[in-house]
Symmetry: C2
Amino acid sequence: MKIEDIIKNAGEQSLNGTRRGDTEEEIIFIQDYLKSARKIIIPTGNKEKVKGINHVLLQFGLPEAEQLPINTSAADLNRLPAITKAIMAVDQCKCDVVVARGRLGVPGSGSMLVITDNKGRILTATTSPPHVLHKKDLETVVGEEIEQALNRIRLKRIR
Amino acid sequence: MKIEDIIKNAGEQSLNGTRRGDTEEEIIFIQDYLKSARKIIIPTGNKEKVKGINHVLLQFGLPEAEQLPINTSAADLNRLPAITKAIMAVDQCKCDVVVARGRLGVPGSGSMLVITDNKGRILTATTSPPHVLHKKDLETVVGEEIEQALNRIRLKRIR
């Protein structure tokens, strides 16, 4: 089964009223997609962010991500800054997975870390409070975020 | 200061490289906006969802939300189902705040609860795992989600 078929089937279920939430098979598809990824990209000018995320990816047995050093500032002018950063990366390089981290919504709405596939479709994500409230360093907080994002689709540390 | 000015200023800071993350003032603006809301809407056909969310809103001293009983199934055919549900509500009724809950992204990606203002701009949000993984009842899980969404912008229970 390809993700296109999963999306088509789930869409039909929603429209005919038979959808009963995410299935085991759909979750396993996302897990397998991430586990088989060869090129993971992080669009950011910030090396700390890459370091914090890669530290956790390796503990999950996933490949180290490459930094895509583009200026993502313009994403902040969008309604969905973090998701927009992910789409910018998909549009500017070939990759299997994007991990993007930025503002969730309006200024003051805190952060979102989002993991997409090669077309920018959202596989998992997590949110965290504005930095001014928790004051943790960036490397630590992005590590916590990606761990939560992977845990919520039942991927676990293997080392 | 209006939210339009906050967004304009933050956008200028991002473009000229002086943005240093969310500010206390921006967070307080979101808190005050929510605390002064008179009409909160939940677009859903599911009364359990409304009950679970309202139980928590009252504990935070916020007004009880009204159910907007529209068919939101079509949102699942979008890339961002939960956010799309919120926008559907904004477009179909007058309100100060929308609380929408639905799928985060692709089938298997779990849930997102999102709180927007009267124009659909995202104020806060949280994600939770697919139901098949946690098996909690809907009323409990949406209660936990809205509590997390409010906590992350430092709103607390008052009763």
